[in-house]
């Protein structure tokens, strides 16, 4: 009989308990569990995730534990839309609050969601970062994300030419 809680070890050597239901929302952990059926339940090592970030992930999983599983069929029907931008608004109030965090944390959660393969959380983080990038000038984006401008004047001239750039763009 599988136990109802799973132990994982984070990158900062903390052992964290999470419910089987939440653990299974991560495809990565889920497949590890399936691989080790019948074996002694040892703590699963998650060397790429810190305890701080994992707690955030568990928070999200707790809030979304009753969400319907993503259905592949829907994707097939909307195949044409694959090339269009996804709906960019975050509709869930709880999610809006959740992403209202430092960008450093957001990026860490995105990486963790990617590694753990938590689809919904991954999409949420991508959406949030995309929203942060939209509607801003290159200067604003560089400032917001701490990016060095390493484009030469030549590069910029080439981009302007290719785009047929307007005055608003730096």
């Amino acid at each position: 009989m599988a136990s109802e809680s799973i132990s994982v070890t984070t990158s900062d050597d903390q052992t964290i308990q999470l419910s089987r239901k939440h653990a299974q929302m991560s495809q990565t952990i889920n497949s590890m569990l399936e691989d080790s059926v019948g074996a002694d339940q040892e703590a699963i090592p998650l060397p790429n995730v810190s305890s701080e970030v994992l707690k955030k992930v568990i928070d999200w999983c707790t809030h979304h534990e009753n969400d319907p599983a993503p259905v592949e069929k829907v994707k097939k029907l909307n195949k044409k839309r694959e090339y269009k931008a996804k709906n960019s608004t975050i509709s869930d109030e709880w999610d809006k609050n959740f992403v209202n965090a430092e960008l450093r944390v957001i990026v860490d959660i995105l990486l963790a969601a990617n590694y753990l393969d938590v689809k919904g959380l991954f999409e949420l983080m991508c959406k949030h970062i995309a929203n942060e990038l939209k509607g801003k000038t290159p200067d604003q984006i560089r400032e917001r994300f701490g990016i060095q401008d390493d484009l030469t004047e030549e590069d910029k001239a080439a981009m302007r030419k290719a785009w047929g750039a307007t005055k608003n763009d730096s």
């Binding site: 090339y83 269009k84 931008a85 996804k86 960019s88 960008l103 450093r104 990026v107 860490d108 995105l110 990486l111 990617n114 991508c126 959406k127 970062i129 995309a130 990038l133 939209k134 509607g135 801003k136 000038t137 290159p138 984006i141 560089r142 400032e143 994300f145 701490g146 990016i147 060095q148 401008d149 390493d150 484009l151 590069d155 910029k156 981009m159 030419k161 290719a162 785009w163 047929g164 750039a165 763009d169 730096s170």
Partner: protein, 431 residues
Amino acid sequence: MDALTSAIEINLFDSLPTELLYYIVIQHIKEENDVRRLTCVCRRWRDVCINSYRSLCEAKWGTCLQLSEDIIDWSTALRYEVSHRPTSMQWLETGSSFGRKWYLHSEDGLSFHLEGILGGDRTIIADRPFDSRSFSYAFGLPLEATTVSSSTETLLALRPPNYYEVTITSNKKAETMRQRGTNCVAIGFAYKDFPREKVMPGWLQKSLAWHGDDGKIFLNGLSNSFGRQLIPGDTVGCGLNDKELLIYYTVNGKPSGVVNLDDGETFFNGEAEPFYPVVGLDTEYEIQVNFGNRPFLWNPTASDLRDEARRPPCYVSYRNAAPILFAIVFCLAVHADISEDFPQPPYNVVETFTSGEITSITCPADCGNPDSRHCLWNADIQNTCSATYAEKRSVEEKRQGRCQQLGACGPVCWSDGQGGYACGCVSCGKK
């Protein structure tokens, strides 16, 4: 000072793998203006945006190029082409040959397979003609003469305009029975109201097609050697350069020849008719038509396309082509004559044509001996042999006469089940 250091700190995106950035751009941004601005943020974002667009573009269209001054005119041409090209084929769902029905099945207007009796011919025709303007733009050399437009696309799909591909698959999706002839898929162009049955494109005026059974090009009722025979698994591409009146073909992604319409008989006969892609069908295999919704097998570069446009045609003359119109008229007459009460297999064979008494012409070595099972009744009469019309007619009459003499129906050819065919007279009557 503190504010300054915190603003610069570390680049948050350094820790994100490039694939993730692609994903964000492709799935969640995709607004032209936003992508434009992102390309001006830093080198990494510039490369990500351009490559994201490239992978997006290639998944959709095949080869894509980064937009540059050199090919900016392609952008106009291709956008035009995409919105004006044909979307599917129109077809006749059923008809009859030899008094028995055939059915042409298709769900999407792009994949087709036949059911029932083979031997009669039928043609499927595109819902829209190819538009001369898209070709003119794309080949509007010199390209550098055009001004930089206000285009905001970074990449454009490089695809041959006015081009379509037909794949002869190796799937047999329904039961078919061949009464005569051999499998033939004919790929080319014709006018909107080209007959949907009983003729192949190329047999009539203002039509042209590469016939897969003998590898010949048929143009306005005349034929000439062109390429090889087409077999299941082949994908044939057919493109139109109506600026220079060229039709070019590809086989399995490689250029295989150009037909110059301006030489000898002209395609239009002085009239401006739009070119509709057409496919003549008489085959047990499923065929698939692609107008560009899937990547083409022929994936040319810009210079390939330009070279192709400039390539001297390797197929130039119809002046010495053998007339086949009589053969068609004759063939239609035979269809009508024997269609009533034609027996269904299994046949009660009265006599097979194996003796020189009945077959009197000698075929050239390359098309087989009419006495052998490999020289089909239909094929040796119609197009395999280079015998004159009178000779063919004489053989046909002897065969028909012989069958009548025996009080039998025919002549008819059937498969021996081992890849060969036999021909002869069979007992008449409805089954």
